[in-house]
Point group: T
């Protein structure tokens, strides 16, 4: 399952120096190209509640791992953090830009405290690395 | 080039819940196993100055990319940060544990502001992901 | 009306040392058992907006009092706080765990500033005490 | 397009010393009265996600300018801020009360950093001034 | 045992909007009325040391539970906090006014970190709820 | 009365991306053009004391309203704030640039706490909006 | 009534550059000399609780006014502050040294928020001024 | 010499609950009435520079002591503080209201660090006490 | 003289991982065993005032040195600090646990600023080291 | 042009350990002695507004460079900072004492952010170095 | 093993009021004199890396305990802290001066969080107490 | 002696807008050109310990003065600060860029507190001014 937070549906249209020109559709194709054997569930929402619902659904569905880019909710959402604590499958947070090299308020990740690890700064390739990381976490179980 | 900061020479002996039982030698073998075609230069030092010297040497040598785990210097060293700003090859920071899920003072990365990206929380596999990320950055040049 | 914030639908599955093993269904039954004469409206949502809608509906409906556990929104939501200021029926905030004995960011209650009072730390029995408190507030009107 | 954040549907019922007695319906009529030649799209939602959706829709629709009162989200929503950065039509933030003269946490406007300007403190007439400001910004294009 | 901190002997004479007009004697009668079967030990002191002595005596005496309103010591006393950590019977902190809705320095409860739970904001009825909470905690042992 | 704080006499010569190329003389003409029926008293001073004197004179003169751009004093002057509290005619603060979108220390308005409202970010047109706002405030008296 | 907080019984023996060489007995004589018609009740205690008891006794006794030097409790005691709020006779806080010219933590007066006024920095003569101030406050009643 | 800072020329017209109804002229008469033998030099200015000039003039003139109410400059002016450090005659700061019982930013006195002592909270009688304090300081020389 | 602050009378019963199982009686015997030639005065109190009284008594009695464990007062008591400043015999602060390795608020020692030195972290043996340190300080006089 | 802020007219009379015994007249002569070929315009004022006026005049006059010691305004004046941003000739800030080695509030230079460089700590010789620095800056143009 | 941080090689030459006149050689002799049966390894370095190397060597060598004075690294070095966490022999931190009675930034000990205990303020005798403490810790193993 | 901290060996290759294009070799020649009569000892190191060693060597060698640019250690090194306190020859800190006009963390100089003065912002010419300042300080001895 790949979850995307607010405004990521407009990926490719935001400041291109920071985010590149790939769209979210391109990200899907990038992942399918790299991992043809994996069946991705791809969700994007601007609603914090939808993302929490999706995290919760991952508990009961046949989801093996979670890759997520929480967008603007990364730095503020205690509720997403709490939902993640309830989820025991591998959880990898990815960011397109390097959150440590931007505004100070983007350096702290509230959601990341409840993830297994974070990959930040490698453009849309962060998603590919995120899936590789999840596979590794799954193989260790 | 793979740089390792203070106390990483004792990897495998520190709190095993947090860092796992792999030694730094294991990390070397892990990388050589995954990337047999790459010629790694592997350095570890407890001296901040040695690490800065190494970063500077990467400017004039035949180094293609930098993978680094700055250890305890991650959160405090302005001097390493300044050295990194002078280096234009791909630079990937890796951490074995998830720095966002530990003590508050480990959440901020001073050095990471001058890296291309950061990978944190996937055990020694963070190094493997770091090399993959660097290869991707090199391919985009 | 009993409102429950994000992740409370999974009550009983979260860290059992902190939250106990009762589910939200158990809470409903607990309340019905203690107060058979009261007709409870029981709502849970992961959406901040749904909770605000529900608070607003309590203004015009035949609701006598509000018992609420805002979950992760307790510490951040100015919007819920503002909605509560508009509501003049008795308002009691309840928490299963003692928010003063956990992480520092859970000690402050933004929503609680607009409630009549707060009951925190008595497991699911906090809800029972909350209803008793609301009854007392109603009796004083 | 005129967007209104949480609890503004109850305008006229909140603390009348601070907000006056005009309802949101009155605001609509006020604007139509002042600007009969303009076709207003008027939206109110208690859901952060709905507001982000609306901001995004303004990018592709035939919307000339955005007037918005983000209510309680003004001071906290990074996600709305990010959505606004993607919108290039004139954007004017309005507040009924003077946010600088109230609680300290209302003085900072997270959303306002991504707006063209802010008008705060003139009751519902702030909306009228907001439209005038937007017209001026449009005339300069 | 019901402990009361500084100035609570003057209850009923302090700002009546905040604290109501009940005296501490009224609180005693209120409790005896609600719980005729319980033998209350009722103490009030303006001396931090007396309160610590009383907490310590509860360890060796035939005390079943502690209900306490620490008054002005709630927000500052590390020594009371430390004494409470040594006490393993049910401990319930009560406040007449809602400490989250007053001055900022009253929002934090140093003592509350070492109590089982806190009930705040229901006037003198907070004491009644406190006893109920203690009975529930006792029943779970 | 239109008051202008330090360095506004050089308007049109400061960073033109931020402030535009209009001079203070242009602002005067802009206002006279929009409001030919109003008799403006236009003052600019680099002296905090002169501005306080002017505010005080507005109490006894035949001044109907105050439009003011306090420049660098906006963020620091308690003395201007105190003078404004003594003035009961409509008071509108205007800023040419959006103070919420610049350096962090420009986001807070000390003077604005004692004004009726603030208009910020619409270039010299902020003055025109300021006069409109003042007229509206006068009409409500 | 003249109350003196901790360590003031040793006045005259503490750092003489800061406090002078007068003893508390000298202060008594100084006051009696200046105001032979007044019957002073003079109390000193190192116990916070004793001081609170004394403040409370002033409510029911034939005390006209309170002069107090809270010593080290000035900067920390919420309990004394709360006791003072219950006392409606004139209350004057005095300090021998200028608390604004010493360590930063001595600049803030918690107790002083509940006093009518404060006199600080005039040696033991601060007590004389304190009585004069109290007499003036009494005369205005 | 009696110096008065910004807005004190309007004394008696500002919030009467806080400042009373005496004017600055009344203060002059009050002082002349209490101390007919003293020749007061009475100055008020809204200009920080004028006040510094006056402080400096006190160094060379036949001034025996300084009584000053710095108004809004009390909390911010390093320059007045520095001027006062150069002045060795008795220096007494007075405030009409109790600065410790108002807004938090009024509690700190920058100027007071360079005064002999401070008298705050006794209405215009603070000036009378200030003169008495200065006389006492003079008598000790 | 050996002073012990609040809750140290319960030593041996508090969290044994942190404090060990020795009681205060054991500490007395430990000291008598190590230093049979010394006549110890041993005091414990939960009352801040009693401790201040004891410190003051050490000034006039035949006390050679002070060993003290201020317990929870270590981090908050300005009054004890002030009392210690008046005492010129050797003063050694001891702690059973390492205060630098516990909660952040236990790291700062207000009282320790007025002691000669501090010994922290060696269990009840800290007292023995404290006496040795005091003897050394005495020998240097 | 050499500008001097508040209290520098009393140079030589302030704390001689910090500032030395040279007067401002001595500084003038020192500069004339070192640079006989330069025609200095020498200004001192205690008025922030006068200094801003002078900075502005340097824009239109035949001034080649600005040497300035802003005195107490260094650490607080946003208005001087803004005036300096408008001035494009070489601007050198000088301080007689080392501002980094004094009170913490003197370490930060608000004005210095808009100067080319700062020279601090060399007594009145700082002015000589300041002129040399300005000459160097002029030679590079 | 006795480790000494930066500038301790110059002991005896630094501010003698704070550090005394003993040199590091004197410390060695002091320890040999007190503990002739112990074979001390004595190291001093100005290099953080050398100290970390030495800590690490203590893990594999025949070292029984560590006594260390980290000098200026006490307050900043996360890397030394991390090295100490890996060392399980008794670790005692010593300071010649009382770090709690000096500059505020010297009060916090980063390294001390990973030591068994700290002895601070007894001149070079702190080293002697440190060895005694280490012997005690060894005896408990 | 001229000391240079980390990364200054790469001078001329770092961001040329900030640092110019001169290399450290150019700085040497610049100084030799300006001061042919002076015999400079020129050192650069990336090792904090080397710099401390060099400072200490200046105490016993035939060094007359110290000019130093501590680079990234300026803002963090307590150990260099302590070494400097032990050195009594003239000590001048220089910076190529204006540290007050860059990132906030570069504004504070830890090392500068122990220097005689600081010269910042004049490119490599800061070194020339530094030598002139040192000569002046020497001439005053």
């Amino acid at each position: 399952m790949v979850l995307n937070g607010p405004n990521l549906n407009l990926l490719g249209q935001r400041d291109k120096n920071v985010y590149g020109s790939d769209t979210l559709e391109d990200v899907k194709n990038l992942l399918s190209g790299h991992f043809p054997e994996i069946d991705f569930i791809f969700l994007q929402s601007n609603h914090e509640g939808d993302l929490i619902d999706a995290i919760q659904s991952a508990r009961t569905d046949t989801i093996d791992a979670l890759i997520a880019n929480w967008g603007g909710f990364t730095h503020t959402s205690v509720a997403i953090h709490d939902a993640l604590e309830l989820l025991t499958i591998p959880k990898v947070e990815v960011h397109i830009s390097n959150i440590h090299a931007r505004e100070e308020f983007r350096e702290r990740s509230v959601t990341g405290k409840a993830m297994d690890g974070i990959i930040t700064g490698f453009g849309t390739y962060s998603y590919v690395l995120g899936v590789k990381a999840a596979l590794q976490l799954l193989s260790k179980k």
